[in-house]
Subunit: 333 residues, 2 copies
Amino acid sequence: MSELRKDPILDRWVIISTDKEEVDLSQFCLQEPETRRGGFCPFCYGNEDKTPPEISAIRDEGTRANTAGWQVRVVPNKFPALMIEGDLSPTGIGLFDMMNGIGAHEVIIENPSHDRGISDYTPEEAKRVIKVYRERKLDLKKDGRLEYILIFKNHGLKAGASLEHSHSQLIALPCVPIRVEEELAGARRHFEYKERCIFCDILRQEQDFEKRIILENEDFISFAPFVPRFPFETWILPKRHRCHFFEIEEKEENSLSEILPCTLNRLKKLLNDPPYNYIIHTSPLKQEEEEYYHWHLEIMPQLARVGGFEWGTGFFLNPVSPEQAARQLKEVG
Amino acid sequence: MSELRKDPILDRWVIISTDKEEVDLSQFCLQEPETRRGGFCPFCYGNEDKTPPEISAIRDEGTRANTAGWQVRVVPNKFPALMIEGDLSPTGIGLFDMMNGIGAHEVIIENPSHDRGISDYTPEEAKRVIKVYRERKLDLKKDGRLEYILIFKNHGLKAGASLEHSHSQLIALPCVPIRVEEELAGARRHFEYKERCIFCDILRQEQDFEKRIILENEDFISFAPFVPRFPFETWILPKRHRCHFFEIEEKEENSLSEILPCTLNRLKKLLNDPPYNYIIHTSPLKQEEEEYYHWHLEIMPQLARVGGFEWGTGFFLNPVSPEQAARQLKEVG
């Protein structure tokens, strides 16, 4: 039998199979991890001139910009979706509205190593990446035209990564995107009704229930959410209520630098290096500190195909319950 | 440079590349069509006992149910997302809401031929499929627990088709899904403001502009929408305003049976048999005939990967403008 579960924040239903006790992992066709694509890599040491000039970097002392010797390197996307130059100029044709593509599209090359991904990083290496995420946000926040900054990672070809060398992306937008608006609206509804942050409520309920928690440290839990769209979907939620990711404190940075690679490593071990996306969910730039929203990170393994049903309804079909997923991710550790 | 275009119905933006005159089709990695998967096919003649017993079929006279001799055959999905038996029983645990998985999940096997798809069908063959879509809707409409019926097709592994033999799916749901609600709300907003159906407005604007129209006959246009999420996205819009697909008339059935295979055939020729989804967008079952909504069919080729950006924002990046797409689809004819 299947069960329809409703997302407590969004108006989104997920159909979850609940009959099977044990998940047959082979159904996700991951008998073999993606083969190395090989060939030339513009993100490796020595090829710094093959990307646009760097925006910022964490570097060994005495090394020059756009040469080897960096630990994390930020460059503009060579094929940007949006460009930083120009003014916003909305126009229309009859029924239709348009705007020119103002914004920023940056690539964060996370590590000089071509073969290791974030799931293999030491806490020190992961911390450098998180620091750079935060610094880029604070820098772009100064540009008054920008309303929202999305930081995300595509890992593996099936999850949209066109290059193999581990990297994240940052897109800064001149408007607040609809999926963010929906999440904010859902959280606001809960707050108006209960006068509590829904994510703080979820944190408490998950800590009580225990069975969906995968890892926990002083500042974060990583858990399988009650209404996962994707098999083995995993969220990392900070215990301290803050709506903006960029308000993360030094101590939290240290904790996140542990729990993020560890969580991704569990997924890698259990599912043979699956393709995944992760996204930092955070408040719009111009929003003051709010009581109703709570930043967090969502990891979405891309193991099942999205088809007409998901596109047409916004419903998702998930053959793995989060209770099963959490148990298996805990056991693999 | 890129251009942000806003969907006139949904609060959805698409970033479209506008620099390139000619689209490099090789970027979609479709040098080779999907290889035949071979092996046993439960949808071929002689294997009727390998599916659950048929719900309905168009058959040669004198042939028995669940034997060969059918032209179109409808069976329950062997691995249904939802089941027709039982009563709706909503429950909750703390913050979370659940419901049992009531509904229907049917498979429409479109043709006995294993090797030909809907893009290859004669108008007579296509008409049988459309007739069955309509009849299944009218039959399930009698079940008062059901609120919405989605008819869709996944073609190709990348678009979510797990079997090669051409088939469509029908899912009947005990609620109106969010993506449908959003579309209805957008259309309602336009109607309240202008007192006109937005789809009728789009029809007129596209007919005036001409350059995004791919095919046209007496009752339908097929065109590249102004705000396409996917490269070569194509819509088929009836000229007669009706909110329910099941109100299609005989004459319209004939016209759709021509334009649907022809449109899909253009995509097949140009893009080497691409994976795609199509979805019939129509009103909820219990909605009276409405002035603000207008049923139509959306074809979404799955040529680009959806990554963290699309999931996180609801924005789409499309490297092909609809003007280019329509021109190339017209030329290939």
